[in-house]
Symmetry: C2
Amino acid sequence: MKTYLECIPCFFRQALDAARIAGASQEIQKRILDELGQILPGISLNASPPEMGGIIHELVKKMTKKNDPYKEIKEESNRLALGVYDHLKKKVQESKDHLFTAVELAIAGNIIDYGVKNSLNIHKEMERILNIENKIIKKEKIAFFNFLDFKKTLNDSETILYLADNAGETVFDRILIEEIKALYDGKKIIYAVKGKPIINDALVEDARACGIDQIAEVISSGLDVPGTIIDLCSKGFKEIYIHADMVISKGQGNFEALSEGKRPIFFLFMAKCPVVVEELGCHLRDIILLYHSPKK
Amino acid sequence: MKTYLECIPCFFRQALDAARIAGASQEIQKRILDELGQILPGISLNASPPEMGGIIHELVKKMTKKNDPYKEIKEESNRLALGVYDHLKKKVQESKDHLFTAVELAIAGNIIDYGVKNSLNIHKEMERILNIENKIIKKEKIAFFNFLDFKKTLNDSETILYLADNAGETVFDRILIEEIKALYDGKKIIYAVKGKPIINDALVEDARACGIDQIAEVISSGLDVPGTIIDLCSKGFKEIYIHADMVISKGQGNFEALSEGKRPIFFLFMAKCPVVVEELGCHLRDIILLYHSPKK
C-alpha cells in the first residue's frame, strides 16, 4: 500500500505519541516534530506507511536516546494476555469450529497496537477483545473473511510462515498456532518477529515470553520498521518468505507493507485507520481475513 | 491560548483539507504539506493557534493561486442559514426566555466551521443545530454558561462589540442581535468581521447578505487570520475593541486568540477540539458561554 496524503498528519501524531512514551521533554517533543517536518519533502508517497514509521521511530529513539521506549508496555501486554490465555483456550474448545474461533481471536488480538493508539488501556482492550469475540461468533456476514481459502491452503501447505505483529498479541497467535497443530499433523510453522525494537512490535523475547518457541520455530526478520518491507529483511528471512507454502500475516503494518507484493498471503488484522478502510472498502474496526492472491 | 503540541498534526490536517477545497492537485497538496514542514521549526508554541492558521491558509492561497477558496461554501452557508431564519425566530418567540434561547442558538450556529471539519454537510449540520437547541433547553446544567453575567453586562453597556466568526453563523448572530435590540433600547452594536478571506470566516459581504447591516454597524477588523489577534488588527478596530463597554466574541478561533488578554470578554462557542476541551476542562461539543473577566 502506498502512503496517502492523509498519512502525513498521522505521522506527526505518531511521532508525538512515541516521543511522550519515550519520556521526552516538551522541548524535545517539539524538536522531534520540527525534524520530521524537515525530512518530509524527502518522503515519497510511493513508499509504504511502515517505511515512514521506521524513520519516525528511528528519529524518536535518536532524540530521546531510548532504544526501546515501549519495553515496559510490551512486557505488560504479554503478562495481561497470558492472564487470559486459559479463558481464550476454553472459548475455542467450547466453540463449534475451533479453527474458526482461533482465527477470530488471533485477529481480535490485533487490537493491541500502539502505532495507532497511544492511550491504549490494556485492561479495557482485553475486555473488548473478549466481547468482540462473542460478537463475531454471532455475526452472520463478515466482509473480507476468506476462511475457506485459509483452511484449504493450510491443509495443502507443509511450511507455514507466520508474521507476528505486536507483543501481547503473540498469546492470541499462540492459540491459533496450537489449533493449527492440533488439526494438522506435521506442519512446520515458522514465527517471524522484528529484529530490533520498533513501537510495541514483538521481538524474539516476546515470542519466548508467550511460549511461542515451544510450538513453532521463532526467527527474526531483521527488521526495525513496523511492517514487513521485504527489501529491508535479512537474506535468511527473504529465503523463507519466498519458499514458504503459506504466509499468515498479522497486523495492519504488514498489510501496508506487503499488499502490493506478488506472493499469496493471508492478511489477518483489524482495520484501524481511515486510509486502510478506504483502500479496502471496509469499515473501521472490521475484522479482516483477506486472501491476497495475485495469481487468482 | 498557546499552541499545544497536539495542534501540530492538526495543522497538517487543516492544510490538506484547505488544499483540497482549493482544488489543488495531489502534487500541489504534497508540496503544501512539505512547505509547512519546512516552516514548522520557526513556529513558536507561544503563538496562538489562529496565528498558525493564518500562515497555513496564506500558504494554501499562494500555492493554489486561489484568493478565496471557501467563497462558494460561504455563499451556500448564508443561503441555507437564511432559509431557517423564520424557523429560528419562531423558536425564540415561543420560548420562555427569548434572550436565553437566542444566545443558545447563536452558539449552536458556531457548528458551521470549516477550520475544524472539512467534510461538513451544511444540510445535516442545520438539522443538528435545530436539534441541539431542543436539547439545550431541556438541559438542566450547562458547564460554562455565564448567562446572568451576560445579561447584567448587556444591561450596563452602551457600546457592544460583537466579533463574528463564520459565514452562515451570521444569521444566528442576527437573531441574537435582534433580541438584544428588542430588549434594550439605544444600544450601539458593532459587528466586526474579517478583513480578507480566511477559511469560511464571515466578511463584510457575508454580514450584508445575512442582513446584519440593517441592525448593527458592520466593520472589518482588517484581519486575515482565523481569530482576533489584536496585534494584527487595524488601528481603528483596536480603538473600538479597547473602548467598547462589552465584547461578545464568537467562535473557538477568537477564544484561542483572546483568552489570555486582559479585557473582559464573553466567549460564545462550541468546544470543537480536544485541546480546547483540555484547556477549559469541558467536554467535546459543549456549548460555551464563558465570561472571561481578568479583574474579577
